[in-house]
C-alpha cells in the first residue's frame, strides 16, 4: 500500500470511486492501516440512514436492494450497498454473486448514459465482502465499511446479508432500520414465532408476493406481531413493524419498501432513538474489536510453547480441560503482552 490513507480519503470524499474501493480493501485487511482510517473518519460519519437487509438465500434480497438503489440513484440520492456473502470454511474462497442482481437493474437514464463518468457519478456504489472466517474480522470490517460510506457522503448505506451467523445478525440489528425479507413457502406461523432475526425487524417485506401463499405469510407475521403486542415485547414507543408486500423482480412494491424505511427513520428521529441506535452501533463495534483482540491473543497463546504444554497435559489424565482453560485465561488476562 503506497498511497497515503488520508490522500485516498480526501479523494473519496470528493466522490472518486477508485480511492474508495482501495480504502474498502484496507478495511477488509484490517490491522494498523484500518485503525488509522477508523480514527481519521470517525468525526465525519453519523448522518447516513443505515439499513440492514436480511433474509434466506433466494428470498430476493439482492433483487430488492438492486431495484431500491437504482430507483434512489435515479431520484438524486447517493446510495451505497455492502453485500456480504460467506467464505468457504475449507478454502477461504468465495463466490460473491450479488452484483449479478444489483448491477443489472434498470437503472434509468443514469445507468444507460453513453458517458461512463457521468453514468458512474449517479450510479450506486456496490461493494461485495466475503466473511473470511471467524478470525477474518468481519465484525470489525462491516461497521468500519459502513462508517466509511457514511463519512464520504453515501446515504442511505444498505448492508445486505443472509443473516446466518451471529456477526451478521448483530450487524443487521445494529442498523437504523432492520429489514427482514420473507417469501411464501418458507414455513408456517410456528416458524414466525421462533426466536431470532424476526424479533429485531423494524420492517418486513413479503417478497415474491405474486406467488401463491404470500397472503398466508402476511397473516402469520401479523399474528406474530399481535403476540409481541400482547406480551409487551413491542417497543415501548408503540412502533409496530409494518409488513410490505413486494415483487422486486417486477419492480412492484419496492417504492413502498422505501417509504416504510423512511417512515421508520422518521419514527427514530421523533423518539430520539436515532441517537441511541447510533450509540448502540458504536458499542457493538467496540465490543467486536475487544473480542477480536482477545481472540488473536488467545490464538497466539495456543501456538506458544507454554500454551501447547498446558494443552498437552490434558491428554494425560493430570489436567482437566476446565483447569487448562483457567490456567490459559489467567495467562491471557494477566500477561496480554506475552509473545509466543
Amino acid at each position: 500500500m503506497t498511497a497515503n490513507i488520508s490522500d485516498l480519503y480526501a479523494q473519496a470524499r470528493k466522490g472518486e470511486r477508485r480511492p474508495l474501493g482501495r480504502l474498502l480493501s484496507i478495511v477488509e485487511r484490517g490491522g494498523p492501516d484500518a485503525d488509522e482510517l477508523s480514527a481519521l473518519i470517525h468525526a465525519d460519519a453519523g448522518s447516513a440512514h443505515i439499513i440492514g437487509v436480511t433474509g434466506s438465500p433466494g428470498s430476493g434480497k439482492s433483487t430488492l436492494v438492486g431495484q431500491l438503489v437504482s430507483d434512489l440513484a435515479a431520484s438524486g440520492n447517493k446510495p451505497a450497498v455492502l453485500a456480504v456473502d460467506p467464505s468457504s470454511p475449507l478454502t477461504g474462497g468465495a463466490i460473491l454473486g450479488d452484483r449479478v442482481r444489483i448491477d443489472r437493474e434498470p437503472g434509468g437514464a443514469a445507468a444507460r448514459s453513453a458517458d461512463r463518468t457521468t453514468a458512474q457519478k449517479h450510479a450506486p456504489f456496490v461493494r461485495s465482502m466475503a466473511t473470511r472466517g471467524h478470525s477474518g474480522g468481519l465484525a470489525l470490517a462491516v461497521p468500519l465499511a459502513v462508517r466509511l460510506f457514511d463519512a464520504v457522503g453515501y446515504d442511505p448505506v444498505i448492508i445486505e446479508t443472509v443473516g446466518v451467523g451471529q456477526v451478521e445478525v448483530d450487524v443487521v440489528s445494529a442498523a437504523d432500520t432492520a429489514v427482514v425479507v420473507m417469501t411464501p413457502g418458507m414455513g408456517d406461523s410456528v416458524q414466525a414465532n421462533k426466536a431470532g432475526l424476526l424479533e429485531v425487524a423494524d420492517l418486513f417485506v413479503v417478497n415474491k408476493a405474486d406467488r401463491p401463499g404470500a397472503e398466508d405469510v402476511r397473516r402469520d407475521l401479523d399474528l406474530m406481531l399481535d403476540l409481541s403486542h400482547m406480551t409487551g415485547q413491542e417497543s415501548s414507543t408503540g412502533y409496530r413493524p409494518p409488513i410490505v408486500m413486494a415483487s422486486a423482480l417486477h419492480g412492484d412494491g419496492t417504492s413502498n419498501v422505501w417509504q416504510a424505511a423512511v417512515a421508520h427513520r422518521g419514527h427514530l428521529d421523533a423518539t430520539e432513538q436515532r441517537v441511541s441506535r447510533r450509540n448502540y452501533r458504536l458499542q457493538t463495534e467496540i465490543r467486536a474489536r475487544v473480542e477480536h483482540g482477545l481472540l488473536l491473543a488467545a490464538d497466539a497463546l495456543f501456538e506458544s510453547a507454554h500454551g501447547r504444554t498446558v494443552i498437552s497435559r490434558t491428554e494425560h489424565a493430570d489436567l482437566a480441560p476446565n483447569d487448562a482453560s483457567q490456567e490459559l485465561l489467567n495467562l491471557l488476562l494477566n500477561q496480554p503482552e506475552e509473545s509466543p
Binding site: 485487511r29 468457504s88 475449507l90 452484483r99 448491477d103 461493494r127
Partner: protein
C-alpha cells in the same frame, strides 16, 4: 494480518450466453481460495471497469465462446488501461492457436483454453496477479 485473498471479476462481455464454463471457473477459483466477484452475462467494458474500481480487484477474467475474442478482448484491455488501471485481463474459452500471439500483443495477460486443469486455471490467475503486483 495474513495475505488477503486474490479478488477477481468473472464476466462475459457482450452477447454470449454460454455460461457453463464461467461457472465452472468461478467454482475452481473459489476452491483455490480466491474471492470471485461474479458479474455473469451481458456485461460491457464500462460495467466491468466500474465493478473493478468499486471492488478493487486484482484481475479481470473474461469468458468468451462466440469468436468475439479478437474484437472484445483487446477492447477490454484498452478500456482498462484508458481508465488508468493496471489490472491484468485473462481470457478463457474457445481461442484458436493462431490468435494467441495477437491477443498477447494486445495486452491480454493469459489465455486458458478448453481442457485446462483446475490447477492450471488457478496457477495462471495467481501468476498474472503476482506479475502485476
Amino acid at each position: 494480518m495474513a495475505d488477503a485473498p486474490i479478488r477477481i471479476i468473472l464476466a462475459k462481455l457482450g452477447l454470449d450466453g454460454h455460461d457453463r464454463g464461467i461457472k465452472v471457473v468461478a467454482r475452481i477459483l473459489r476452491d483455490s481460495g480466491m474471492e470471485v466477484i461474479y458479474l455473469g452475462l451481458r456485461q460491457t467494458t464500462d460495467t466491468i471497469i466500474s465493478a473493478a474500481e468499486e471492488e478493487d480487484v486484482d484481475a479481470i477474467g473474461l469468458s468468451m465462446h462466440n469468436a468475439s475474442h479478437m474484437t472484445l478482448a483487446p477492447a477490454m484491455v484498452e478500456a482498462v488501461r484508458a481508465a488508468g488501471l493496471e489490472t491484468p485481463v485473462i481470457v478463457g474459452g474457445i481461442v484458436p492457436d493462431e490468435d494467441l500471439e495477437p491477443l498477447a500483443a494486445a495486452g491480454v495477460a493469459a489465455v486458458l483454453g478448453p481442457g485446462s486443469s483446475a490447477e492450471e486455471v488457478a496457477a495462471t490467475v495467481r501468476q498474472a496477479v503476482n506479475t502485476n503486483r
